[in-house]
């Protein structure tokens, strides 16, 4: 983490889906940067815009979706201005992505070898033999036993954990500078999840890449992330380093998330659920989008949409409770 120039910067990103029934503001003003060797967590529930943020970075948004505003700077160049041909050189080589479901993201009719060799040869000047050699090394790196024989297998012959390893191997094939992991362990069992998280941490140390970890699991966040952005209804609501987030979370939504997970302690308390449902992104309410579910909502929350304000060094929060000191008195410590 010595290198302090961000490798990727996202500035005020807005990605909307222009449907017949109105624009769905899936991502509505997201900004962050990430440095080499750093792990940034993006947390939120379904529909909060975390995956669309990732897809926007990869320029994989297809109509009716559109990046309507903002910049995505990778090594200083705006990816929004790249042509599809230029993007193809970046995707998989400079920025790679691992998806949630390893079964649907591998092609079932080709062997692992064919899929890996194809990826490698698309980006590197290698002949088939060299590419195969590289594939063997990669499978070995991600801990698949007997990699040479395994290359001949089809995806269905792999278990869920092995498929996810193969996906990671493929994503790492060209030593990417940024790896976007979209819920990489959600479909896996805990013991396998532990293996995969360990593997990602080890590879990050060896290869020095930046990782964007998209997840809804705060346990995973606590374990692997350096900084965390919490999203709700397309907007970031809190952004800080991982220790501050767990020790001094500011936003009522973050509190709600933390109280909703059952803790393994001896006293059994009732879970403090967040009541209600996330809002319809086509018709966001006036004011703060979380106000209707918020226990601490004030009258002004239904009127004014709070800005994303820096509260302390490295701690941004979008909440009216922190707009003036009078309001802050209700904040539980």
């Amino acid at each position: 983490m010595e290198n302090n120039t961000p490798i990727l910067e996202v500035k005020d990103l807005h990605t909307h889906f222009l449907t017949k029934t109105g624009a769905v503001k899936a991502v509505d003003g997201v900004s962050f940067d990430i440095k080499p060797g750093e792990t940034l967590g993006i947390v939120g529930e379904s529909g909060s815009g975390k995956s669309i943020t990732a897809m926007s970075i990869m320029q994989l948004i297809s109509p009716p979706g559109k990046i309507v505003q903002g910049e995505i700077l990778f090594e200083g160049e705006n990816l929004n201005n790249k042509t599809e041909k230029e993007m193809r050189k970046i995707r998989g080589k400079e920025i790679s992505m691992i998806f949630q479901d390893p079964m649907t993201s591998l092609n079932p009719v080709f062997t692992i070898e064919k899929q890996m060799v194809e990826t490698i040869r698309t980006h590197e000047a290698m002949n088939k033999k060299q590419a195969k050699q590289r594939a063997v090394e990669l499978l070995d790196l991600v801990g698949i036993p007997d990699p040479e024989a395994r290359l001949k297998n089809y995806p269905h012959e792999f278990s869920g954990g092995m498929r996810q390893r193969a996906m990671i191997a493929m994503a790492l094939a060209c030593n990417p500078k940024v790896l976007i992991a979209d819920e990489p362990t959600t479909a896996l069992d805990v013991t396998i999840q532990a293996q995969i998280l360990e593997l990602l941490a080890k590879l990050q140390k060896e290869l020095g890449m930046a990782i964007i970890m998209i997840t809804h699991d705060l346990g995973v966040v606590a374990e692997v992330c350096d900084r965390v952005m919490v999203m709700y209804a397309g907007k970031p609501v809190e952004f800080t380093d991982v220790l501050s987030l767990f020790d001094h979370a500011k936003h009522p939504y973050t509190w709600g998330l933390m109280h909703s997970i059952p803790k393994i302690t001896d006293q059994k308390q009732k879970l403090e659920a967040i009541e209600g449902l996330p809002p319809d992104l086509r018709a966001l309410p006036k004011g703060c989008s979380f106000a209707a579910r918020c226990k601490h909502a004030m009258d002004s929350c239904f009127e004014v949409d709070p800005s994303f304000k820096q509260y302390q060094a490295n701690h941004h929060v979008r909440c009216l409770l922190y707009e003036n000191e009078e309001n802050e008195k209700v904040v539980p410590s």
Binding site: E45, S46, P145, S159, G160, G161, M162, D189, V190, T191, I192, Q193, A194, Q195, L197, E198, H216, D217, L218, G219, V220, V221, A222, E223, V242, L243, F246, G256, L257, M258, H259, S260, I261, P262, K263, I264, D266, K268, K270, L271, E272, A273, I274, E275, L277
Partner: protein, 328 residues
């Protein structure tokens, strides 16, 4: 408390057949392979394990949605293992199932009213009573009765799960088998549904078998927990005791693998290597020995039986754990 349900040496093997014109059975997937436990009235038994360990199959075999290969199922003191036909149909009133996927388990062409009242129709509950029950059920699961003419697609995942729960309660069952009821839901919604299930258990005096892979949810809702591995129970005990002091190496590894929402704590993690072996060709001896960090020679040869390992009745199936005789 007396046992509502007793399961003894339950087995469910699925035959594997060869191809050809006359298929022959060439093997069997031993999904559930000798599982015994009992569930007391009013308690929640958690059934945990990784995918493929047989926890869902066990649940379905109890409901006789799968015909058990071997073993006994005793429900309210009666052996129901071989119950068929009309008797089985009647029995199903008393045992219900809540499914994992709230999208796939509701008929998209039926309204909420039709979905919830369907079980009562099948059992000839008079119309007036059905209507009364419908509004009560919708009320207790937190839906408004004006929503009864809506279709499932008009609801969110959490609301659909509430519809599924209302349907399972329509016939006043005694036992509800919940097969991963919250794993498809977002955390904030998950907490709502878990709270609802706890309230309903109180109100309707329900007994739950709660099947899940999420160990913290299971800890929250269960009174006792059984840990399954490759079709067998490797450890069973009272929830606090089992989580605080797991005896079986698999339970220990499983519990240590849960990522904890506390960045200050560096967890000592027992990483178990490799994947679950295939249940059609399980390892000899203790089924966990291929991945067990402590395995010894005896583990490769002899499959350990469940034995008592603490004074509070916790049981584990492991050669390396000392047996504790109750009262000593």
């Amino acid at each position: 408390m007396s046992s509502l349900l007793e399961v003894k040496k339950l087995k469910k093997h699925f035959p594997v057949k060869s191809g050809g014109i006359i298929p022959r059975q060439t093997g069997a997937v031993k999904a559930v392979d000798g599982v015994s436990f009992d569930v007391k009235k009013g308690e929640t038994l958690g059934l945990v394990g990784e995918s493929g360990c047989g926890k869902s199959t066990a649940g379905r075999a109890i409901l006789k949605l799968h015909e058990p290969t071997d073993g006994e199922i005793i429900f309210k003191g009666k052996d129901i293992t071989n119950v068929q036909g009309e008797q089985l149909r009647k029995l199903r009133q008393e045992m219900q199932l809540i499914f994992q996927d709230p999208y796939a388990s509701l008929n998209p062409r039926k309204t909420v009213e039709q979905i919830i009242t369907e079980p009562m129709k099948i059992f000839n509950v008079p119309k007036r009573e059905r209507q009364k029950k419908l509004s009560r059920l919708m009320d207790v699961v937190g839906l408004s009765s004006y929503q009864k003419d809506r279709y499932p697609h008009q609801f969110s995942g959490g609301q659909r799960q509430r519809i599924g729960i209302a349907r399972s309660l329509a016939l006043d069952p005694d036992l509800v088998i919940c097969d991963e009821p919250v794993s498809a839901l977002d955390v904030s919604i998950q907490a709502q549904v878990v709270n609802l299930m706890e309230d309903l258990q109180q109100e309707f005096d329900l007994t739950y078998i709660f099947i899940a892979h999420d160990l913290s949810v299971v800890h929250h809702i269960s009174d006792r927990v059984a840990v399954m591995y490759l079709g067998q129970i490797v450890e069973i005990g009272e929830v606090g005791e089992l989580y605080r002091n797991p005896k079986h190496p698999y339970t220990q590894a499983l519990l240590s693998a849960i990522p904890e929402a506390n960045p200050h704590k560096q967890k000592e993690r027992i990483l178990i290597k490799g994947d679950l072996p295939s249940p059609s060709n399980p390892p000899q001896g203790c089924k966990f020995h291929t991945r067990c960090p402590l395995a010894e020679d005896i583990c490769k040869q002899v499959n350990p039986e469940l034995k008592q390992v603490s004074e509070h009745g916790q049981q584990a199936a492991c050669h390396l754990v000392k047996e504790v005789v109750a009262g000593h």
